[in-house]
Amino acid sequence: MASPLAELRLSRRALLRIGAATGGGLALGILFQARAEPESDTQDSSQHNGILSPNAWIRIHTDGRILLVIARSEMGQGIATGLAMLMAEELEVGLDQIQVEQAPVGSAYTNHLLGEQATGESTSIRDAWQIMREAGAVARQLLIAAAATIWSVPDSRCSARRGRVHLAEDPRNLSYAELAETASRLPLPPAPKLKPSDAWTLIGTPQPRIDSPDKVLGAASFGLDIKLPEMLYASIARCEVIGGRITGWRSEAALEIPGVLDVFAVRYGIAVIAKTSWAALRGRDKLELSLRPSANPAADSNRIRDRLQGALKGRAAVARKDGDVSTALNGSHAQIEAVYEVPFQAHACMEPMNCTADVTTERCDIYVPTQAQGRTQATAERITGLPKDRIAVHTTFLGGGFERRREQDFVVDAVELSQLLKRPVQVVWTRADDLQHDFFRPMSLHRLRGGIDAEGRLTAWFHRVAGPSVLARIAPDEIRDGIDPCMMAGAADLPYRVPHQRIEYRRADTQVPIGLWPGGGYDHNSFAAECFIDELAHLADRDPLQLRRNHLADRPRHLALLNEAAREADWDKPPASGRGRGLALAEAFGSLIVAIAEVSVENADIHVHRILCAVDCGQAINPQSVRAQIESGVAFGLTAALKGKITLTKGRVDQRCLSDYTPLKAHEMPEVSVHLVASDAEPGGVGGLAIPVMAPAVANALFALTKQRIRTLPIRLS
């Protein structure tokens, strides 16, 4: 797996790979390789009957169907629509003329920014931008060449529009269906010819989501909606004590539940097998488990906090060193120090984890809401010993993903059980399972020191991140010189120019399972850094916006965005009385965001009235979906800022249900306005973009209103 969020070091490597692809050579390599690959059995077997299938993504049937293959998981971000737009733009078809299908596992479908077939870390559009357009262009060139052959005219006299090729100054035209067979016998063009941006009719225009109609009918099929003939249901009780194991269980009461068929131990716990979901869940409730140890004092929030506090002192790995911070601090006009704390966070997808597997001696079919098709196949390969070409991964809609669905635990559950029972099995996690056995966003502590000169300019910036390593489990080879790039994103790449900087990481692992979270390192680091820069602005007696501007003087994109946000929010005028306004900026995933929060406080209750986001994500493919994702990020980020917190007591996660961990509710949702700045830069990611700026924008707004500094999440006023 390529590094999560290490935009600086690692994604650059991948971008170089893709950059090379844009020269034509590698991209065509990908396109050719895809064509040569054996087709998965999920595709039409009649495909050689004249179907034009020039690469792994596009199939044009002689009956008029135009099928686009979507290789990323649809988890709400609108990626199916976005990828279809990229292909349709170059293929010259409307979104109303196409059908989409989820991709099987195949090397053509690798996400080059992640190094595997997976969806996450706001990479999909950046990865697809060139390749999907080229895939469409190649198909269009073939269809044009086919028409030119039929009419015996040069290609240059033919043009494509809405699924037909037209002959210039001539009424003749042919549909793609009519051209498919001829086109399928032509050689691939030497290089894809992309349309110039002024010829785009889809990219950059608001397009309706293609998945909306099914979703309002309740007809979209999620993981739990899969039903196979003869399928059994399973619920697995896992050990609630972190670091403990189940040493014994009593299943009599469970077996008395009508519909419960069996109870036995599997890799991750005790499985209750039943004829219906309801029987499995009820049976599992009746299990009595013995755990050893029955408590684990090391996995306890207080102990972990102590440990992280210790890690704020002593030696640490240096992620970035500019100038000499100690000397600069000593020579500064004024300096401050602060410690910030960010708790463990759950993903809490609305659709609990689940997976359905059908394993026979011949093959394995997995029906799963997953973000990681490649790893799902590898997991099944490991368990079943079947060769990859007999393991099919069928990706359903995902009822939320948030990086949780990059994990494999639920896949192991289902594949293992189906193999054992020789029947299709659907594993259903309860909400408590989902909250208690998450791979949490790690807890971290942050010590910052900053100094200013007599003119109120930042001269020195010190930031130490203390926390467990996310990559130690999922990509240990990405850790270099003691630096986990995933923990440091947003700290080591502070967007502000400060002459003396020292950014450190002190790894302090705990037993609590941790993993990726949307926004990644930017979440915790932006909270600390964007609040601390406000503290320094206060120290320097400068407007927080102006101070930021002063340190972005040579960064026109940042400045323009700050100015846009300031204008839209009327920053120069004071907020309405009783309201406070706060600002935060983040540069992540190749995009920029500035958020301005407007808050009030009533009897110690915090009300977030309004969130304004100015966004520069380069070329927006579907501005409508960019806005929707920013709104989603606002809700997700505010949940973490104001409400969400996972705590542990003696080895157990304290939160068991949605009243213990409650996402933002309808009446708590602020008014959100999203201002997209026009840009023709390469597209950046937006999925996780708004999340990191929510906590600091709200905390800074609360300081403006109450003069209380918020340094711990979730935000509580004293």
Binding site: E74, G76, Q77, G78, R209, D211, S212, P213, D214, K215, V216, L217, G218, A219, A220, S221, F222, L224, D225, K227, P258, T276, S277, W278, L281, A348, C349, M350, E351, P352, F397, L398, G399, G400, G401, F402, V428, T430, R431, Q624, S625, A628, E631, S632, G633, V634, A635, F636, C657, L658, S659, T662, P663, L664, K665, A666, H667, M669, E671, V672
Partner: protein, 154 residues
Amino acid sequence: MISVTLNGEPLELDLDPDTPLLWVLRDHLGLTGTKYGCGEGQCGACIVQLDGEPVNACQTPLSAAANHSVKTIEGLSPDGRHPLQLAWIVEEVAQCGYCQSGQLMTADALLAKYPRPTDAQIDAAMSEVLCRCGSYNRIRRAIHRTANPESQNG
């Protein structure tokens, strides 16, 4: 035998009367539009209408529906052209979509009670249905759009 009117059709069910309606629908009748999000009455993903009132199907035993009428997302309209469904599409409400059956069934019950709901009435009704994707503002707009078809201009 338990008699229920489901989406307008009379139905006789030979099932344990304690079975939650959610699992009657999903496990036994194959109506998977109603979602399981918690099974504890805390998320609203499973909301259906019982005699027009929104209820958490996971907390409603089949016995409570006996001789009553149940409406699920599958029964909201024959063709997906219920005004709320159309408004949901125009406002692009659904993100992952998992919570949306519960949202739509709740909104439909709200409009039956208050054909022109205020923001406060929308808040009160819709706060029972969690959306991790934060589609709330879109839901609000879609409800207003449905309630005020004459004053919609995008």
